[in-house]
Amino acid sequence: MNCSHARNTLFPTPEKALVTIETPGAMGHLRDCDECQAFFERQRGLSESLRTKAGVEPAPDALRERTARLVETHRSAALRSPRDRKQILAIAAGIVLTLGLGGIWLASRAPSQALFQEMCADHAKYLDAQSQLPSSDAAAIESWFVDKAEFRVHVPALEKSDLLGSRLCFLKRHKAALVFYRKSGHAVSLFELSKAGVSLSSLNRTVIDGSPIWHESFSGYSLVAFENRGVVTVLVSDLEESELLPLALAARRG
């Protein structure tokens, strides 16, 4: 076998080439041919340079979370075969009896508590407001969310605050519209999400202007929340609760 034939047979490199009846002959030629060995070394080098220089672009967080949720939903559905379903029902009945009403009450609070902590973590992660839509135009942000959220997203004007942009995020299986503001150098995140599955009762409750408002501190961040027409709005910031509250009230007034 000559060099040209061996190179064609083993292209692009012996490890990636198609295995055919001619492969053993070409490999035999390669063992004894310094020029062909150098040829494939250059091919490997080219491949390596391309791979290194082209780099990898990380998938956006939103895509990662959507895919993880898709997998989780699929896995749960797959596990729910008819026989499994009977077992699950039997186990669930046992759990309900064992836990009693007090346990159920605690269990209902826990996921929401985790959700609010996740919001504070998300706020801390995006302190520099990495928006999917950088914009100071409230109407543009509202229309950007039209086909992304299941509810109408409202972007309120917050007193002495700059509107920076928005992103769609997934927090503990809840899809949330996140709007970034900056007030006196402090980042303020405003989350809006559907009320379904969200319990505000794990937070401290205060009635202002005849309507309840919920507040709490997590890891040094203040959180103030209210509910209106099936949508829960949560503001998170490192501002004091007393400074964040007027912003929440302004947002509630619309």
Binding site: F11, K16, S49, K53, V56, L70, V71
Partner: protein
Amino acid sequence: MKILPFQPPGDQHRAEVVYRVLLENLDALYSTAKRLTGRADLAEDLVQETARKALEAIPGLTDARNTRAWLFRILLNGIRDHARRKKLWIEVEADEETLELSAISENVAGATAEDVRRALSSLPPETRSLAILIDIEEFTIAEAAAILQIPPGTAASRLSRARRELQDLLQAYRSKSSRRGGKP
């Protein structure tokens, strides 16, 4: 009560392999989609659609050994369908191509990352896909041919052409930049 040892059913085991490989390769799938479409939003949609189709197709998956290549095949099918609708991907007859090997220059090794990405995005999709699958994602000729549903010989000749065109483009960028740099 008799406790039976846990044995994952075949379907569930295959499903777990797909879940793991899908989540591990999300960056690679997204990068590939973005390199082939040039658009982040479209790449996101195409990867999401790939995930959905892959999960739906698990019951029909008989061999989970090369799940990575299977996921890329679903993705590339989606990209090609989209590109055909937009008339961005024109199929070249597979049997018209022959393998022509050319010498490797220093153009790629000496190029900047930005130039390499620009050159890659300038290639026609049918050759760009081969450079991405084989050089960047490290598939073999046989795997890349199966992903793109073309004969292995065609995959080899298109890869060779992609490398040649890339080197030519990088050479052109270098000449242009040295001409600019040479001016006072």
